[in-house]
């Protein structure tokens, strides 16, 4: 414990420094702007549930799909040194598959929902392995390999259901996308916690972390140590596929509606940003999933802050871009090393002063 503390003081929080500082700044900014910004209230919603509400809940709830995707994206980034830009389109496909099964039965019950979710998982994993095969077997750069699905994914999603915005309504779907009766915490938040737990367990009970990092840092050495790097890369895409299915299911369940054109639109960019803000190297290698999750909440907090400030709609993206540029630049290796140098200088100056003082 003492060692841990020492390590933290010595090396800072490592790669989590930037995202945590970003969150702290956003919190302080909001508290100054509106001291009650983060207040949480219990309200009775129209379904008769007592639920938590407030900006904080909106942020944590709203970032759920992003957080889930960012986790998977981190793994792909680490193993392949590139990103999957088709997650939004793939989520639309998974969501459509989910809706397809729900609508095919006479009624929606727990069984059909589970069936539908499993089907969505299978579909998303298939598309994930399509991407993964292009990357791992055919050695195509991830961004370019996934450009294919990015381009045609939403058309595929359309073919699955035909209609532009098919809807499904059922208390179960409402419970998945909103609140489970009697539980005041939004279900998507619980799902994120669940997915994060699964990741923790997977890292604990398998060598996924070590192998993925080895493949990402030095593929040649990993191969000579007997690691099947093709499989590890493919696996990262399949796991991302599962995340996509979860995100797509949440997205659909929130409103009980699938709009193949807009479901999780542009989320791939946010997911990649979350990975970057989380301090992960987009060129692959070492990674921290927790960083990406925090990154996802940073992005969402930023969005909600801008909404709360009633920034004109045309300007929101520009403001978002400015903040993100600042974050990413601060996290860049150049600034980091400059900062390190600066800190060393201060340190050595202080030492000199204290030595002089002693004399």
């Amino acid at each position: 414990m003492k060692d841990n503390l020492k390590r933290i003081f010595k090396g800072g929080l490592g790669q989590l420094t930037i995202p945590l500082i970003a969150i702290a700044l956003l919190v302080i900014f909001n508290l100054i702007r509106d001291p009650s910004f983060f207040s949480i209230e219990l309200t009775l919603n129209n379904n008769g549930n007592t639920v938590l509400s407030g900006n904080l809940i909106s942020i944590i709830n709203g970032a759920s799909e992003l957080a889930v995707l960012a986790m998977g994206m981190t793994l792909v980034t680490a193993a392949c040194g590139g990103q999957d830009i088709s997650v939004g389109a793939a989520a639309a496909i998974a969501g459509s598959a989910f809706v397809k099964i729900l609508k095919s039965g006479p009624s929606i019950n727990i069984g059909t929902v589970i069936m539908a979710f499993l089907f969505a998982c299978v579909v998303a994993m298939l598309f994930g392995s399509f991407n993964g095969t292009l990357v791992s077997v055919f050695k195509i750069q991830p961004m370019i390999a996934t450009l294919i699905l990015y381009t045609c994914g939403r058309s595929i999603a359309y073919w699955i259901n035909g209609g532009a915005t098919p809807t499904v309504s059922s208390p179960i779907i409402t419970a998945i996308g909103g609140f489970i009766p009697g539980v005041p915490i939004p279900t998507p938040v619980l799902i994120v916690i669940g997915v994060a737990l699964v990741f923790v367990l997977v890292f604990h009970f398998t060598s996924l972390g070590l192998f993925t990092q080895s493949v990402g840092i030095n593929g040649s050495a990993a191969r000579l140590n007997g690691i099947n790097s093709t499989f590890i890369k493919l696996l990262s895409f399949i796991i991302l596929g599962l995340c996509v299915a979860v995100a797509g299911t949440i997205g659909v369940s929130r409103l009980g509606l699938i709009n193949h054109e807009t479901l999780l639109l542009d989320i791939e960019m946010d997911a990649i940003l979350a990975v970057a803000i989380g301090g992960n190297n987009l060129g692959g290698g070492k990674f921290k999933i927790s960083g990406s999750i925090i990154g996802a909440y940073v992005i969402q907090m930023l969005t909600i802050t801008l909404y709360a400030m009633k920034v004109p709609s045309t300007d929101v993206k520009a403001y978002k871009a400015i903040v993100i540029i600042i974050l990413v630049v601060i996290g860049s290796p150049v600034i980091k090393s400059k900062f390190q140098k600066f800190m060393n200088k201060i340190k050595s100056n202080r030492q000199r002063v204290s030595v002089k003082g002693a004399e």
């Binding site: 309200t43 129209n46 915005t165 098919p166 909103g178 409103l255 909404y307 709609s313």
Partner: protein
């Protein structure tokens, strides 16, 4: 990236595109496969693909229903989002010798040549949904929507509700799109005149989840509002989800008036259930008007025919309306 990799990528990409297009073409051919018995009127339709939007899907279905073999037509269709592909398809129809050519163009320019050729070949041209930059003499009539009229219809309905005050959350579509501009204009005029009060005006770029977040943030800020004007059904649904979670009543007898656009069947059902108050529509149904002109049931007085826009009030909506005008399913 090495050249080799790029090469294989191109290969894959071209394969995929070929696949996609071949799929599209077969779909088109299937539609065109009608009996070519004598006495039928041959109609070639150049349109955007049905996957573009719910509007387009309804539009395509409407064309297929009206220009059916049962009504004495032989229909050939070509769908593309790209102008040059559309031009080629039109050229093809002219060569095949259709009697009428119906066009909803991807772009407003570049159609001069093709329409002249059609005229030389004695083929009559109708424009639907979208105008083209050509001389009026090159087409018989253009059946189009007036987007701003759609917004006006909705805002006039809202004014007719005689609320004590109008505190409006305005959720816009993708900025700069025709639908957004048309649906925003009338409301902006009300904000400017001070008759209505703008609580927030933000774009959710047609994304229902984003719309929900916008409304959530207003609720969290504690600002008062009693109207949600969402520029499509999906965003209205998102907004309503936020109201539901916050325990705010809406629809007929509710605190908040909910307005949407497009008239999806599911959205009209929400109206019918009293959850929403109003749904406006930019009518995708132009086929009947054109058919009437072809069969001489209607005479053309002005070449530009503005299609009548619909707006449904939850209180007066009937099941027939849902079946007739509802999009989807």
């Amino acid at each position: 990236m090495t050249k080799k990799k790029f090469g294989s990528l191109l290969l894959v990409a071209s394969l995929v595109t070929t696949l996609l297009f071949s799929a599209c073409t077969t779909g088109g051919a299937g539609n065109a496969g009608g009996s070519s018995s004598k006495g039928t009127i041959k109609v070639g339709v150049v349109n955007n693909p049905p996957s573009e939007s719910g509007y387009r899907e309804a539009n395509v279905k409407d064309m297929e229903a009206v220009f059916s073999a049962a009504n004495g037509y032989e229909l050939k269709t070509a769908y593309s989002l790209k102008n040059d592909e559309q031009l080629q398809a039109a050229q093809g129809f002219i060569t095949e010798g259709v009697d009428y050519l119906l066009i909803s163009a991807a772009e407003t320019t570049g159609w001069d040549e093709v329409l002249k050729k059609a005229k030389e070949a004695g083929i009559k041209v109708f424009l639907f949904d979208r105008m083209i930059d050509v001389d009026e003499s090159l087409y018989e009539a253009a059946v189009v929507s007036d987007m701003s009229k759609e917004g006006e219809t909705a805002v006039n309905w809202l004014l007719a509700q005689n609320l004590d005050e109008y505190n409006v959350i305005h959720i816009q579509g993708a900025m700069g799109s025709d639908a957004q501009i048309g649906r925003t204009g009338a409301l902006d005029a009300q904000f400017a005149s001070g008759k209505m009060n703008k609580v927030v005006q933000q774009t959710a770029t047609w994304d229902e989840a984003e719309a929900k977040k916008i409304v959530e943030s207003v609720i969290n800020s504690g600002d008062d509002f009693n109207v949600i004007y969402a520029e499509n059904d999906g965003m209205a649904k998102g907004a309503v989800a936020a109201l539901d979670e916050a325990g705010i009543s809406h629809g007929i007898n509710g605190k908040v008036v909910v307005m949407g656009f497009d008239c999806n069947k599911w959205a009209l059902r929400e109206l019918k259930a009293g959850n929403w108050n109003y749904d406006g529509q930019c009518s995708p149904f132009q086929a009947q008007i054109i058919s009437d002109i072809i069969q001489g049931k209607k005479t053309v007085t002005s070449k530009k025919i503005i299609n009548e826009e619909k707006g449904f009030d939850a209180k007066t909506l009937t099941d027939d309306d849902i079946n007739t005008y509802g999009l989807g399913e």
